[in-house]
């Protein structure tokens, strides 16, 4: 649906730009898919409704994690954010580990332990 179709559907005194902004924000959040249609975008649901819900729930949880508000420690994240100093060290580490992997391939475990 294009913004003008949405506007016609929901009626009310909303401005075209309001509808357009809302739709594009929903798209930014991953709740809607869109493809070009003339000079505007046509929006649609990305896949089935349960997937939309899953994405919405996941987005909420990520915001919680990003804000550091998961103080109760319910969610366990694979990796937290890196500080800029650590980023340098970790980049070096990845390079080192990858070099190792290329040099002795799959025998890393045997040759090292």
């Amino acid at each position: 649906m294009t913004p003008s179709e949405v506007l016609a559907e929901i009626g009310g005194g909303l401005a075209y730009t309001t509808v357009m902004t809302t739709l594009s924000r929903l798209h930014d959040k991953g709740a809607l898919d869109r493809r070009p249609a003339g000079r505007a975008y046509a929006y649609g649901l990305p896949g089935d409704p349960s997937a939309v819900q899953a994405v919405a729930v996941a987005q909420r949880m990520r915001r919680l994690l990003d804000a550091g508000q998961d103080r109760a420690g319910v969610l366990t994240r694979f990796v937290a954010d890196l500080s800029p100093e650590d980023e340098q060290l970790v980049a070096q580490l990845v390079a080192d580990l990858r070099a190792d992997g290329h040099r002795d391939g799959d025998d890393v475990a045997e040759t090292r332990e």
Binding site: V57, R71, L82, D86
Partner: protein
């Protein structure tokens, strides 16, 4: 034997000082299980002794003493600490109890919310939910049937073998009920602020335990280190793409990736039976001290009650 009454306090000071180090040195699996247990035993023990001090203060109020047939004079003569210390202990106890109750309520509601989120994430038989999102992210959501949420951004950042590491890591969190141990440790820290540092180190131990479980599953510690580093880097790159100017320290930033990769590149953790025994001893001392205090308090109140009956009888 009155000195045993203070043993939970001694255990408290020792755990507050040695806890963070202990949680880092113990094998992660043992640390995750035993450190929260010791924290709770110490927090409960200290809370109980403070409550006993409070009982002696409250029991001396004439209306209560009359109702319970206690002699205020006998109580005063037999109380374990001066009245002023008793009042201070009572106030501290009430504050800590309030903090612990609030923390328990928040932890409970957060667990319920996580369980609801699990259900809404969809009925995946294997518990894996892949979210179509460029932002690299991966986490475990506990619930009756827990979920592992991974974004396509994270999957694309990792090689096939590294993806196995990621899934094994998150599955270890769910299988080990790690969220429960984090909750218990945080509850202990809320009831006893001296243990905050120890609670923080329990969180690191939880990540380490999942890393070690993943390493055991894929049979290669270096591979786990590489997956961690790669995932951390992918996150940092994505963050910079989104907010090019941000150089400030982020809310979620911590040094745990470096600590975890360093530990993985070192040899596997040793059993450390001595430290485990020490930690269990600390827990036991707290429990015994609490039990002895309960017994002594009962005796003291009995003596005060006899005094009252004798006085009334003659």
């Amino acid at each position: 034997m009155t000195w045993l009454m203070w043993s939970p306090f001694v255990a408290n000071v020792i755990l507050a000082a040695a806890g963070p180090r202990l949680a880092r040195t113990l094998p992660p699996r043992a640390a995750v299980r035993l450190v929260p247990l010791a924290m709770l035993a110490v927090a409960l023990g200290v809370g109980f002794v403070l409550a006993v001090l409070g009982v002696f203060v409250v029991a001396q109020f004439p209306p209560i003493a009359v109702l319970a047939h206690w002699s205020p004079a006998a109580l005063r003569a037999d109380q374990p600490v001066p009245a002023l210390a008793g009042v201070a202990g009572t106030v501290i106890l009430l504050v800590l109890l309030g903090a612990a109750l609030l923390r328990a309520a928040r932890g409970g509601s957060d667990l319920v919310r996580a369980a609801v989120a699990c259900r809404r994430l969809g009925p995946d038989a294997d518990g894996l939910v892949v979210i179509d999102d460029d932002e690299p992210e991966a986490y475990a959501v506990p619930g009756l049937a827990g979920r592992i949420v991974v974004s396509t951004g994270m999957l694309n950042a990792l090689g096939t073998d590294e993806r196995h590491v990621l899934l094994a890591h998150e599955a270890a969190h769910l299988a080990g009920h790690h969220h429960v141990y984090i909750q218990l440790a945080d509850l202990g820290a809320a009831a006893n602020p001296l243990l905050r540092g120890t609670a923080r180190s329990v969180r690191l131990a939880v990540e380490r335990a999942a890393d070690e479980a993943a390493a055991a599953e894929v049979g290669d510690r270096r591979l786990v280190a590489r997956a961690l580093a790669r995932a951390g880097l992918a996150k940092a790159v994505a963050r910079r793409r989104r907010q090019p100017q941000t150089r400030v320290v982020l809310a979620g930033a911590d040094t745990s990736i470096m600590q975890r990769t360093t530990a993985l590149l070192a040899p596997a953790p040793r059993p450390r039976r001595g430290l485990v025994a020490g930690l269990l001893l600390l827990t036991l001392v707290s429990v015994v001290g609490t039990g002895v205090t309960a017994h002594q308090t009962d005796d003291r109140l009995d003596r005060a009650a006899t005094g009252a009956t004798v006085a009334a009888g003659h």
